[in-house]
Amino acid sequence: MRVLILFAHPHFEKSRVNRALLKSLPASDAFTIHDLYELYPHFDIDVAEEKACLVEHDIIVWHHPIYMYSAPAILKQWMDMVLEFGWAHGAGGDFLKDKTALNVVTTGGTRESYLPEGFNRYSLTEFLRPFEQTARLCKMNYLPPFAVQGSYRLSDAELEAYAGDYARLLGRLSLGDYDVQTLQSYAYLNDWAGAASGRATP
């Protein structure tokens, strides 16, 4: 199983958290990272190239920070352009069928702030509905998100733990070592990755 990480961060050079996450991945043929802002600085996404790449991978990861309760603009651009009618969805749009999709996100707010009584009033799952439904439209299995939260106040040790979970999660997914139904029962994939490593998640 090959994992395609569609990474979108307009200011990656300043993102300590995302650097740590991506750095934790072992160099392996199983992972392909598409750094969208680096590949397409003019938003001129190469649709043919992206489609060819999608076909070669089984697990699609939308990896991005949460800005204004959604993904940075280029990821929306990518979805608008690449997930074409007749290719990804609609009549004859079966090229993504049965692949797995998920969001890996980083948020400034804590997990608690994304509760009904919290500052942001809705859960991440709610905010990520467009991704969930897009995945469903393209006949993909959508998994709960993996989230690094409270990113401004993470200690080095906490960040390292998150990075470890991230690498473990994607590692297990790449081995096909998972069952979609079980995973979908979690609110956050953090809990699965943390439980797998025998450590309580914060």
């Binding site: 001129d44 043919a48 074409e84 009618f85 007749g86």
Partner: protein, 623 residues
């Protein structure tokens, strides 16, 4: 006579060519190589050269003068001013303490106080030539230790003036009549007039540098005669040295001053590369002469005494230097570099000892022994530095050390722009707006002057000259942007870079498509056609004027740019298929036709279906 000169030249050059590479290979540095070469061909080695070593040394001391001129060139006046505390502070402590300790020791050995004081002062001096050459070779010139060493050397050079004034007085008090020959016509003048002359000489160097030399160089540059420029550069150094000797100042100090004055001029790099080879050869010659002048006969007679004195002198110097470095808060590793590098007795001591000998302050034997100590201490320095570097430094390196090494006197830039016309200067402005300072090379001196007034770091020089590229920092730079108008010059430059700096990334501006093909053939990847982006931008705006939505027009522009770049590479491959001879104009027309056909066949925007919602048709209820 001619045969004698030729023979000598052949001996010196051969010795250097044989010894220096071997020494470098063994990690000893070129200074030690030259010294060894001198010892080998000297009277106590193979005996190829005899006692004339001394004369050659005086001649070769000119290398030191040139070296200080070059150092001055690399040091802008503002930097120099910032160093004043180091120069005066460290210099006074080092010179004072060393002289006092050494003199006390010598008096205990039975020297008269006059002789002890004079000798002590001479021993306190260090060798500018050896220190700076060794530090530069090890890349330590820009470190705190290197800068401090330089500051102390400058102070020593300045103190030569009062020391030389003091010596006749000391000689007079010993009762020996007949002071040595007058050094300059000034000695007979009253003190205040001497001071005035010295100040006047300094001022005239500064004023002449600013108002006479620079305009003169500009005039010479316009003649485009390279050898005349070289002649002018040599003349500047020689004339300054001459003026300084006339008023009794150290010629090296004068040349340094001239260098500092010219550091701000656009000719800095040109002067640097013109003087550099002369300096290198003369310094080499100087070191060989020092090696040849070591009197092993004398050492053989009293080896214990000489080595004891040598050891004592070097230890005292290192001790005082280490304390000085500590007082001025040098990091331990920097202090080690500082202390070891300055631990030898300088070439100036040769002058002082022979002077004292003539003034009957020192006996024949003692003067000879002291000179032997001086020469040996010089030979010891590269060895000490080597030992320090191998064994002590690794233990002392502080975390900041790496940063300090990067902070050298002459800030090397990682981008060089060759050609600073409209195109190049826009790049320069853009880079600077983003905090990247580029080194700029241009050979239009009027433009260079204007841009410098606007605060750009622009240097005058022919970019295809290897020495200019080197002084512009081609070795350390990462990118060379070539924005030259003339394809022939550009071609020369590319060839030269390929040969000497293969790691330098080349980004090249071209005039048009045909021009770009030549570069593709030459294997250049990063090619920027002068008008491509602009014409597409204008086309995009035209589409917008015609009623296209802006984003669609901009996307069409981006696509066209990509398509055209790809087409360029594709067509370049097939360009040589055609056998028949075509004139440039006809080839140009043919190219245009080919392009127009291709554009119609493969409209790059046609496959762009994004956001075309009218194509989406779902059976029911779906968007």
């Amino acid at each position: 006579m001619m045969a004698g000169f030729l023979g000598q030249a052949i001996i010196y050059l051969t010795a250097a060519i044989v010894c220096v590479p071997i020494a470098k290979r063994l990690g000893m540095g070129s200074v030690l190589g030259y010294l060894l070469a001198g010892i080998i061909i000297g009277p106590f080695g193979l005996g190829f050269i005899g006692r004339e070593g001394q004369d050659i040394m005086h001649f070769a001391e000119f290398g030191v003068v040139m070296m200080l001129f070059l150092i001055g060139l690399e040091l802008e006046p503002s930097h120099f001013w910032k160093m004043r505390r180091l120069i005066v502070g460290m210099g006074t402590v080092q010179l004072g303490a060393t002289a006092v300790l050494a003199s006390t020791g010598l008096m205990l050995l039975g020297f008269t106080w006059q002789a002890a004081l004079a000798t002590g002062l001479a021993l306190a001096m260090s060798s500018t030539a050896i220190v700076l050459q060794s530090l530069k070779e090890k890349g330590l010139g820009g470190t705190m230790g290197g800068k401090s060493a330089f500051a102390v050397l400058l102070f020593q050079d300045i103190s030569v003036i009062p020391i030389l004034a003091l010596l006749p007085l000391l000689a007079a008090t010993t009762g020996h009549a007949g002071a040595p020959h007058a050094r300059s016509f000034l000695v007979d003048l009253p003190g205040w007039l001497q001071t005035l002359a010295v100040l006047g000489a300094g001022a005239s160097v500064v004023l002449a540098g600013r108002y006479l030399i620079v305009p003169l160089l500009r005039m010479i540059a316009r003649t485009h005669l390279r050898e005349i420029f070289t002649a002018a550069a040599l003349l500047i150094v020689l004339a300054t040295a001459g003026l300084m000797s006339l008023v009794g100042l150290s010629p090296a100090l004068g040349a340094f001053l001239a260098g500092v004055v010219l550091a701000n001029s656009e000719f800095r790099h040109e002067l640097e590369s013109d003087i550099e080879p002369f300096k290198g050869l003369l310094l080499g010659l100087f070191f060989i002469a020092v090696g040849a002048s070591i009197n092993f006969g004398l050492i053989g007679q009293t080896p214990l005494f000489i080595f004891a004195v040598l050891l004592a002198v070097v230890l005292i110097k290192i001790l005082v230097l280490a304390v000085t470095g500590r007082l001025f808060k040098l990091m331990p590793d920097q202090n080690l570099i500082f202390s070891l590098s300055l631990s030898q007795v300088g070439e100036f001591a040769f002058v002082l000892f022979s002077f004292m000998h003539q003034a009957h302050l020192l006996s024949d034997e003692i003067a000879g022994q002291m000179m032997a100590v001086t020469a040996l201490s010089m030979a010891l320095t590269p060895l000490l530095l080597l030992i320090g570097e191998r064994f002590a430094l690794p233990r002392l390196i502080t975390p900041q050390a790496a940063d300090q090494i990067a902070d050298s006197i002459d800030t090397r830039h990682s981008v060089i722009i060759a050609g600073f016309g409209e195109f190049g200067s826009t790049i320069g402005r853009f880079l600077r707006a983003n905090g990247v300072e580029a080194t700029i090379l241009d050979n239009d001196s009027s433009r260079v002057d204007l841009l410098r007034k606007m605060g750009f770091k622009v240097f005058y020089g022919d970019a295809t000259r290897l020495d200019i590229l080197k002084s512009a920092g081609a070795e350390d730079a990462r990118i060379l942007i070539i924005a030259l108008a003339d394809p022939v010059t550009r071609h020369d430059l590319i060839e030269r870079i390929r040969g000497h700096y293969p790691r330098l990334r080349l980004m090249v501006k071209t005039k048009d498509r045909a021009d770009a093909y030549d570069l593709i053939d030459a294997g250049i990847r990063d090619i920027y056609r002068e008008s491509l982006d602009t014409s597409i931008r204008l086309g995009v705006d035209a589409l917008i004027r015609l009623g296209f939505r802006k984003y669609s027009a901009v996307r069409a522009g981006l696509n066209f740019l990509k398509y055209d770049e790809a087409a360029l590479e594709e067509l370049a491959k097939h360009r040589h298929d055609e056998q028949s001879y075509i004139t440039t104009t006809r080839e140009y027309i043919r190219l245009q036709e080919q392009l127009l056909t291709n554009d119609r066949e493969a409209n790059p925007t046609i496959n762009d279906h994004a956001w075309e919602s009218d194509r989406h048709t779902y059976p029911s209820g779906k968007a």
